[in-house]
């Protein structure tokens, strides 16, 4: 898994590439929570280039999403492929997060 970080105004975009599996979930979660704790209250996680996300990755998203909620921040997701969307639907995660079809739409909503 690779993570690239971009800033657009006060919105931070995290672009994830590869697999968010058991091996990668720790680093993925740590990056999200450290940004939120560091005061980056508006986050968009771009999942366009991920292959899949395992339950360990969903757990990391859940922890980060709950932390964002507690600190009045926003954690949004964008650009889910059909395969990744299916995993969100199976786990009933689709309703837990703001999910946008593209990065541009996510940015427009959070800006």
């Amino acid at each position: 898994m690779e993570i690239a970080e971009h800033q657009a105004g006060d919105v931070t975009i995290l672009e994830i590439k590869g697999r968010i599996d058991s091996n990668a979930a720790g680093a993925f979660g740590d990056r999200l929570t450290s940004l939120i704790k560091g005061g980056r209250a508006r986050l968009v996680v771009d999942l366009k280039q991920i292959i899949y996300i395992s339950s360990a990755g969903f757990r990391a998203l859940l922890v980060a999403g709950q932390l964002a909620e507690e600190t009045n921040g926003t954690l949004a997701l964008c650009a889910l492929s059909a395969e990744v969307q299916r995993l969100f639907d199976l786990g009933s995660f689709t309703d837990l997060f703001a999910i946008y079809p593209s990065r541009e739409e996510g940015l427009a909503k959070l800006s």
Binding site: R19, D21, S22, N23, I51, Y52, S54, S55, A56, F58, R59, L62, V63, G65, Q66, E69, E70, E83, L87, L90, G91, S92, D95, L96, F97
Partner: protein, 150 residues
């Protein structure tokens, strides 16, 4: 033609370390590329093996010793099978509780999701305990491949 083809088999052995699971990902991708398995099927196996192996490595052992976990892939007559053999505590993932989804973020508890993925993405999940070993088998039929050239 496919009926005359012998089964294609390969094995990887890892230790009970989460970082070792990357070897299984490489193994599945290599097996898939060698035998013309569609990418989405290899990805589904990688995801399910991640869930099952994470369970074994995280909860299967009470000691701190190094244990071997064997993963065997078999492609036969349009059916892909992965078999995990470990010497951890008896654990039948096919009888594990499925996730009870809460649609509110603040009260949603993690857990149960991995087995839900395995049961949904695979056609079969089978468990046996033999000679002090857990043997978990997951199976998926490659529907398109049945009519293919292989």
């Amino acid at each position: 033609m496919s009926l005359a083809d012998p089964p294609k088999k390969d094995v990887v052995v890892i230790t009970n370390a989460i970082t070792d699971m990357a070897k299984v990902v490489e193994f599945v991708d290599r097996f898939g590329a060698t035998h013309g398995i569609p990418g989405e099927v290899s990805n589904a196996f990688n995801l399910c093996l991640d869930e099952l192996l994470n369970n074994v490595i995280s909860y299967g052992y009470d000691d701190r010793n190094t244990h071997e976990i064997r993963v065997e892939l078999t492609m036969e007559d349009g059916v892909l099978t992965a078999e995990i053999t470990d010497d951890g505590k008896p654990f039948d993932p096919s009888s594990a509780k499925l996730v009870v989804a809460d649609r509110k973020l603040h009260s949603r508890a993690p857990g149960g999701l991995g087995i839900l993925f395995v049961k949904t993405l695979m056609d079969e999940l089978h468990y046996a305990r033999k000679g002090g070993l857990n043997i978990v088998r997951i199976t998926k039929r490659l529907r398109e491949a049945r009519r293919g050239n292989r």
